[in-house]
């Protein structure tokens, strides 16, 4: 039996050890409970909660979803019960679960990020925090934290100072130079990096002659964004040494292998779970069978194998020029 386990926080004494590298992505798995009657949630490597904000949010008006070719746009608007409502309800349930639960947090100020992290620090049933830096920074006039290395680092530092929990910082694909953001959050104390969040898109209802989503724009996810995500993981893998969690349109084993081979140590599945709730469990089985067949005994044997800058010798100067030219 090949070893599928992975530690996503090797530099953190609290560790973030997963039995396998398949994680259900934030926003696509609710709080885990929604899927617990349909699949064996405990078999997942981990899951990430829906995005939690300092105060309760009712979310955006409807319609919130638009299907696009091999993808979908969503503009849910972070509907959630707020950090205090969340803490009352979910951590006590998760404390009885075997599967590691990560909490995804979003805020519009650095202070709010830190306050939420501090509140989560001593809660039961929480294996780590995923920091969503794809939110507008009020102090910067609504400019997205994750588009700027310095602002991304500032959030990471503040959250790091507020908790010793394993910290995964989720990068925004809207960053001008995603590798610089990755380096900045690594230096600011992130235990791992996850990417990519959705890409901002739009769809028009031609019959009604207006945008399909009430919010006008939404986040694009699904197979349509996979090549962009693979490219960005490739760029980030050349720039940092902390573990990378890759995501963006992963549906099949081959999709996941692409991410591992450019440097991801784990992957997240999102939209594919909407389509097929058991998809992540099938992926775990497929991955184990593939490793057996290919004579791969440990996952890290394949992490980065398709990368010119192989693990241990990752250097920024090896970042592919083609990506820069295409950008």
């Amino acid at each position: 039996m090949p070893d599928l386990s992975v530690d996503l926080a090797p530099n953190n004494p609290r560790e973030l050890r997963l039995a396998n590298p398949v994680i259900a992505a934030s926003g696509c798995f609710g709080y885990g409970l929604e899927y617990s009657n349909v699949i064996d949630v405990q078999r997942l490597g981990a899951f990430v909660s829906k995005g939690i904000t300092p105060k309760p949010r009712a979310g955006n008006p409807m319609p919130r979803i638009a299907e696009t070719p091999a993808g979908m746009l969503n503009a849910i608007g972070l509907q959630n019960p707020g950090i205090r409502g969340f803490i009352k309800k979910y951590p006590p349930i998760w404390a009885g679960w075997r599967v590691p639960a990560l909490v995804n947090i979003s805020a519009e100020t650095v202070e709010d990020f830190a306050t939420m992290a501090a509140l989560l620090d001593e809660q039961p049933g929480i294996a780590g925090i995923e920091v969503n830096i794809s939110c507008p920074n009020i102090a910067a006039g609504g400019y997205c934290f994750g588009w700027d290395p310095d602002m991304s680092a500032e959030v990471t530092r503040a959250v790091r100072a507020a908790t010793t929990l394993p910290l995964v910082v989720k990068l925004s694909p809207g960053a001008i130079d995603i590798a610089s953001v990755a380096v900045a959050v690594e230096e600011a104390g992130a235990d791992a990096i996850s990417l990519i969040n959705t890409l901002v898109g739009m769809a028009i209802d031609v019959k009604a002659r207006r945008p399909t989503l009430a919010n006008l724009t939404g986040g694009l996810s699904g197979p349509a964004i996979k090549p962009i995500a693979v490219r960005m993981v490739y760029q980030v893998a050349a720039a940092v040494t902390i573990p990378i969690v890759g995501m963006g349109g992963i549906t099949t084993l081959d999709d996941a292998l692409e991410f591992f081979m450019v440097g991801a140590s784990a992957i997240q599945m999102g939209t594919a779970i909407f389509v097929t709730p058991s998809a992540p469990l099938a992926l775990i089985d497929d991955l184990a069978a593939w490793m057996e067949r290919e004579g791969v005994s440990r996952l890290d044997e394949i992490v980065g194998v398709a990368h010119p800058a192989r693990p241990g010798q990752r250097r920024r100067d090896l970042e592919p020029e083609t990506a820069i030219a295409a950008g």
Partner: protein
């Protein structure tokens, strides 16, 4: 800000005597044209499911072949009829978008990837004797199943149906014979010339409960004709709404309906809502 009620009632869903939602491979056993360009698809279901599903629940269907990624997301279809005897479930599908066009082109023997049954159900109060059902177009589906259930329990059912023209109406033979079936058409080709909701006031005093399913304008019209007709909210009105959905399990919050109790998911807390609770 709206008062948030984000209780998921997952435990309540699990303990109720309803079929557990699951992914299953189904086979189409019959395709029958109905209501003009629509079809009735009869599907196999896991053992015991047909006896456990309830009127108002729906199936989430993957409307593409295994080698395609498009259309990506499943489509919800209300269960039209459940045949406990042979264990099959029936869906009513009207070709509208790409997914439904793919679905109406299926043949007997074809396989379908199904997630379900999902959603809540119509609730008939223990004291109710007379049920008024109001259907618009393919909104007929969950109300056929409700008529089946109600007649089996000895209740009186009047089924009002509206369509653009006579060809779009449900054939009377599709309903149990004990049901009083009254129709309306926009073009006057059959029954009342006008909206189905025009017929409602004549039944308000008779009905203990009203159940409706159809397009959004029909609900608006129903609310309009009922203004001043009901006393103390009686008869109560339950409506089955349609929203674009992604997960079908209450996780993505893409299909919410704004209600007096906060944002509610139409996939788990719906698709059936008390009309008076919905904020329009």
């Amino acid at each position: 800000m709206v008062e948030l009620d984000l209780d998921l009632d997952v435990s309540a869903e699990a303990t109720a005597n309803v079929a557990r939602a699951r992914e299953f491979a189904s086979e189409i056993v019959a395709v029958e044209p109905v209501m003009g360009d629509s079809v009735l698809l009869t599907l196999t279901a896991p053992e015991g499911m047909a006896a456990q599903v309830r009127a108002g629940q729906f199936l989430d269907i993957l409307c593409r072949g295994e080698t395609s990624l498009d259309p990506l997301i499943r489509r919800p279809y209300s269960i039209y009829r459940a045949n406990a005897r042979d264990g099959t479930l029936v869906l009513l599908v009207r070709p509208y978008g790409r997914a439904s066009h793919w679905l109406v082109a299926r043949q007997p023997g074809d396989a379908l990837d199904v997630l379900g049954p999902l959603g809540n159900q119509f609730t008939v109060a223990p004291r109710s004797r007379n049920l008024l059902l109001v259907a618009g177009g393919v909104g007929a589906a969950p109300l056929v199943m409700l008529a089946d259930e109600a007649v089996a329990r000895g209740l009186s059912v009047t089924y009002l149906m509206g369509a653009a023209g006579a060809a779009g109406l449900l054939p009377p033979g599709q309903l149990p014979s004990a049901v009083e079936y009254v129709v309306a058409t926009d073009d006057g080709s059959q029954g009342h010339h006008g909206f189905v909701t025009d017929l409602v006031p004549g039944y308000v005093r008779w009905a203990d409960q009203i159940f409706a399913c159809g397009p959004e304008p029909m609900f608006r019209s129903l609310r309009q004709v009922l203004l001043g007709q009901r006393i103390g909210g009686k008869p109560a009105v339950q409506i089955s709404v349609e929203r674009t959905m992604a997960c079908g399990l209450g996780a993505c919050l893409g299909c919410v309906v704004e209600t007096r109790r906060g944002m509610q998911t139409s996939c788990v807390q719906g698709p059936v809502f008390d009309m008076d609770e919905v904020i329009w």
